[in-house]
């Protein structure tokens, strides 16, 4: 076993601590971004679906502004977003380097994507059910919490899994501008110093994350779909 590792992963085996630390950093960025961007994304997604065409609080003007804003944010390539947001990050966090600093562009990058996904997920809720709830005298807040978020739960879980997998990819990109994590490791060691085996290790770890989140979400979707 040891020979195998020494032969195929000569560089990676020298730096277990560094790999471990990068993994923790990636998890750290993924977790906080998912939490914060998740909340904002769901909130904005709900606003989109309720103010949009056929929404229960229809306000097309407001919807149009939000819609365009999201489209603009989503059109900016993430790698450019990272450099674009350095001054904002410095203002908010005090530095533009490190995992916490990376959270700012990550969140801003993920929120529009997730909000749009949530909007689409909630649009799948049968309009007839919404109408039935309205006919029963349910308030708009009641319709959001007791109909949209319950009836749309399987779809919400599905788009959340897609977003998390996307987010893991983005955290790696954040590594390119000093955000730390597995992406940073792959670039500084694997790319710059030609230690390809380190890159392979980061890929394996990231794939593992992707598989685990896919597995958990599939399980959760099965449990919540009736």
């Amino acid at each position: 076993m040891n020979d195998f590792l020494l032969h195929y992963f000569p560089n990676a085996i020298q730096i277990p601590d560094e790999i471990w630390q990068s993994t923790v950093e990636t998890l750290y960025m993924t977790f906080w971004t998912a939490l914060i961007a998740g909340l904002f994304g769901i909130l904005i997604g709900i606003i989109l679906v309720t103010t949009g065409k056929n929404g229960i609080l229809k306000n097309l003007c407001f919807y149009a502004i939000l819609d365009k804003l999201i489209n603009i944010c989503r059109s900016i390539p993430f790698i450019i977003m990272l450099s674009l947001l350095t001054s904002l990050t410095r203002f908010l966090v005090g530095t533009s380097i490190g995992t916490t600093a990376a959270l700012v562009p990550l969140i801003i990058g993920v929120v529009p994507f997730y909000a749009r996904q949530i909007e689409n997920a909630l649009l799948e809720v049968d309009p007839g059910v919404i109408e039935a709830a309205e006919a029963m005298g349910t308030s708009p807040l009641g319709i959001i919490f007791r109909v949209y978020l319950i009836e749309g739960l399987p779809s919400i879980l599905r788009v959340s899994a897609v977003t998390i997998i996307n987010l893991i990819g983005l955290t790696a990109m954040a590594g390119a501008v000093g955000g730390g994590g597995l992406g940073n490791l792959a670039i500084t060691r694997g790319y710059n110093r030609f230690q390809t085996d380190v890159t392979v290790v980061t890929v394996i770890i990231i794939l593992l994350f992707v598989f685990i989140s896919q597995f958990i979400s599939n399980f959760a979707i099965r449990k919540t779909t009736h």
Partner: protein, 361 residues
């Protein structure tokens, strides 16, 4: 109970304005089962949604139990909606909740204690005959069962009005009959006022005591069920009724049957329709004993609408021409409506049809 005064609904689309409902006035009394019939696109769905203001009118008044609900603020309107149940063509149950939870949804914020809510749901499920399906999810139910759950949910807050939006259109004929029976029971047991829209006259015939016919956003006829079936005035109404009573189908069969459609000199093919207690047989006997006109019945149908029989017959009358004329006059004095469908015409010219159908030479 429910009063619509000159309501109109106009939807503005890019360049044109669509008038879904035009200047409609309706009065529905407590305990009525009021049917609104029309083809799709006639504006029925829009009209029924005016009653609980899921659709706001562009003009007119909506008065529910003496209250103009157009002037209510959002909160009072929601309270008002709780007093009106509504069921839908596609049931609109929440897929992620069990039968119990679906009904509970309507009760949750009604200010009733938890144990009482549970009791209430149990009794509602009993009322619609679904006690054993309490913990099932909608996907595990048949269409008829889903509609029963929807009815239980609609009744959760003890409404006085039940709005049915094509409630049986997605169900098979047998299930439709069961649901209609349930609705009639609810009407009698709870003195529930029911407003239903449908494109099937059959549904109206079985359930309603009053009916309105709708075409292109307007109510073209509004009558008690018996008079609309016996004396329809508008062509569309007649269409609906002929389909519901299968007369059209019978006539088509007759036209296609050469021996039946081929009349000799002294024969008349007629349609007789009558309302009320007089049965057809004594009349037909009278035709023979008084005028020596014999009757050959090809098709007969009697509907019992609100305990009043409404009958129609397609028959061949044969006898001397003069006597036939007298017989027809006699029928008219007995309040039988006679429609001449076909009479024998001299050869060469072919047979002359007075109404519909194809000419079989």
């Amino acid at each position: 109970m429910i009063e619509l005064n000159n309501v109109s609904v106009a939807f503005r689309q890019k360049k044109e304005t669509i008038h879904a409902v035009k200047n409609v006035s309706l009065q529905i009394s407590r305990g009525d089962i009021f049917g609104i019939v029309g083809y799709s696109g006639a504006g029925k769905s829009t009209l029924i949604r005016l009653i609980n203001l899921l659709q706001r009118p562009s003009r007119g008044e909506v008065i529910i139990q003496g209250k103009n609900i157009l002037t209510l603020n959002k909160k009072s309107l929601r309270a008002e909606r709780k007093k009106m149940g509504m069921i839908f063509q596609h049931f609109n149950l929440m897929e992620q909740r069990t039968v119990y939870e679906n009904i509970h949804f309507a009760l949750k914020y009604s200010g009733i204690k938890k144990e009482q809510r549970a009791e209430k749901i149990t009794s509602l499920l009993e009322l619609v005959g679904l006690s054993d399906k309490k913990n099932a999810y909608p996907n595990q139910l048949s269409g008829g069962q889903k509609q029963r759950v929807a009815i239980a949910r609609a009744l959760a807050n003890d409404p006085e009005i039940l709005l049915c939006d094509e409630a049986t259109s997605a169900l098979d004929p047998k299930t439709t009959t069961q649901i209609l029976k349930l609705l009639r029971e609810l009407n009698q047991k709870l003195n529930l006022t029911i407003v239903l829209i449908t494109h099937e006259m059959q549904v109206v015939k079985e359930l309603c005591n009053r009916v309105a016919i709708m075409e292109a956003g307007e109510i073209i006829e509004q009558e008690s069920i018996v008079s609309i079936f016996s004396q329809p005035k508008k062509n569309l109404t007649k269409d609906f009724i002929r389909t519901a009573t299968h007369i059209d189908q019978a006539l088509e069969n007759i036209w296609q049957h050469p021996t039946l459609a081929h009349l000799t000199d002294n024969e008349l093919l007629v349609e007789l329709s009558y309302v009320g207690e007089q049965t057809s047989e004594p009349l037909l006997t009278a035709l023979y004993s008084r005028y020596q006109v014999t009757t050959n019945i090809l098709y007969g149908n009697i509907e019992i609408l609100q305990q009043t029989p409404v009958g129609s017959l397609i028959a061949i009358l044969s006898g001397e021409t003069l006597q036939q004329e007298k017989a027809l006059l006699f029928l008219k004095t007995q309040n039988v409506t006679v429609t001449l469908l076909k009479q024998h015409a001299p050869k060469n010219e072919g047979q002359k049809l007075t109404k519909g159908g194809t000419n079989n030479e």
